[in-house]
Amino acid sequence: MKKKSRVFSFLYIILCYLFFYVPILVTVVFSFNSSKSLTKFTGFSLRWYTQLISDQEIMAAVYVSVSIAIFATAISTVLGTITAIGMSKSKKVLRDTLLSVNNIPIMNPDIVTAIGLMILFSSMMIAKGYITMLLAHVAFCTPYVITSVYPKVRSLDDSLANAAMDLGATPFQTLMKVIIPSIKPGIYAGILLAFTMSFDDFVISYFVTGNGVQNISIIVYNMTKRTNPTINALSTIVIAVILVALIIGNVVPAIYNKRKDKKVKMEENAN
């Protein structure tokens, strides 16, 4: 009886994973196909990758996606962290209100945010293109940074900042040398979230861009209208980038902790 249910739960998990990963696997496999077919694998080749690299338009889109993700992450991390610190120091009513307001853009359907931003930029006569896309990305990434940094700031012991100032640190030194190092895990989580959000955004980018500025998602969307396996190659690269980001986000802290434990143990043995 017990055995049976275990088999079922195992099967269930396998099915779930197949459901998630088969589409990705298909994309990856066919990106190495030697022919144009999307149904028959005719042999291994890097043909689509070479074509991808030589395609000016695609390379421009890669540049846009990467640079926007980097800038948007940097700006929203700074903005979000400062906001989270400020919020933790403000009155309860203001704090709760800000926190709820902060959740609206996260819960809001992307399409609503997208149209809202589009109308905003039009009404302010800002020429659509790279800058509007960057501003939009900063706007939707910042709430994610706030949500991941804020709990860390809240759990921070007030007396740490007091101790730093007691030892002669100015408020700015206290921020840089004590507060930020204490909330680092939250900031890293925020960076990771902001980067992935920005890098794979389609809907918002599509509505706020113009003048031929396209990111990877937009170009992939446009390319799907013709069958073109270069998309597969491009998608594979995107998957690889996201995978690497996730690995960095999850494995590096684990390794770091382990190494720290080891070091402590070694010192204890030495003493």
Binding site: D157, S159, L160, N162, A163, A164, M165, D166, L167, G168, A169, T170, Q173, K177, V178, P181, S182, K184, K260, K263, V264, E267, N271
Partner: protein, 350 residues
Amino acid sequence: MADMGNCIIELKGITKTFDDQQVLRGIDLNIYENEFLTLLGPSGCGKTTILRIIAGFIEADGGELLFNGIDISKVPPYKREVNTVFQKYALFPFLNVYDNVAFGLNIKKVDKTIVDQKVKKTLKLVGLEGFDKRDVTLLSGGQQQRVAIARALVNEPKVLLLDEPLGALDAKLRKEMQVELKKIQQEVGITFIFVTHDQEEALSMSDTVVVMNEGKIQQIGTPVDIYNEPENRFVANFIGESNIIGGNMIRDCLVRFDDVDFPCVDKGFKENEEIEVVLRPEDIDIVEPEKGQLVGEVTNVVFKGVHYEIMVETDKRQYKIHTTDIQEVGTKVGLCVDPDLIHVMYTMEY
């Protein structure tokens, strides 16, 4: 008593209210150079609040705070020449022991080799030699507390504020650190403002003890004064154990309680004024019943290590007596007190 120089910190009528609760009700206090001053009082009486006002983390609602005669109430904490050992340590969890201790010196951009010397020396002083690279979050409570002491001490401040710095130590280490701290204070010549719950610690370490209750100073004095001449019932009860008995002052040098007249040494009360008498348990002698000023029966005997605690019931009340001689429960005994061991105080108004 240490030789004390000028007044270094002066509190004048300091008041503080937190959400409608008056935490400090007019604190007047002078703290002298090289003085070891202890704030002693029950939990919640405002000890930490006084330290936080002196350190600059909070501002008093009223009153003046002078440092060497200059008002510093608007000076930010990082410009004040005081350092604090926090009640909850407040060590930087992301720095190791060495970097925690070096923090203050590094902020002041002190030369690295000097930092190294001072940090090593201070760690040795608090008994944490060789702990340099340890993660502070993995230390025991007592070790963390000593890191906190080292981190403040290494800056050689004029005034060191210590908020129950020995609270997490076991009895033996606590005694050692008491001696060590006292030695450091005398050698380096720093003013210590020390907070504790522990009256024994306060009496054994301090030049001056400040007894507080509910945001008010009850008495300021040397440990001997505080113990022998408590000014009111609260101080008498809080410092050591005592028998407190209501009575009347018949005239100078004669007090009546429990319907018996006792010769004493106190003067200057009004005739027949209502007063309270403090008798320390160790000041009451047990004698033969016929020789006693009071007579009673032994009802309870508890061994306390150095002495026995003996309860004697007279027809008026129970007396607590500390003596090294054992008594049988049920024995009739007489009680005697020397005139100079009777301490008369004004009744406290509530």
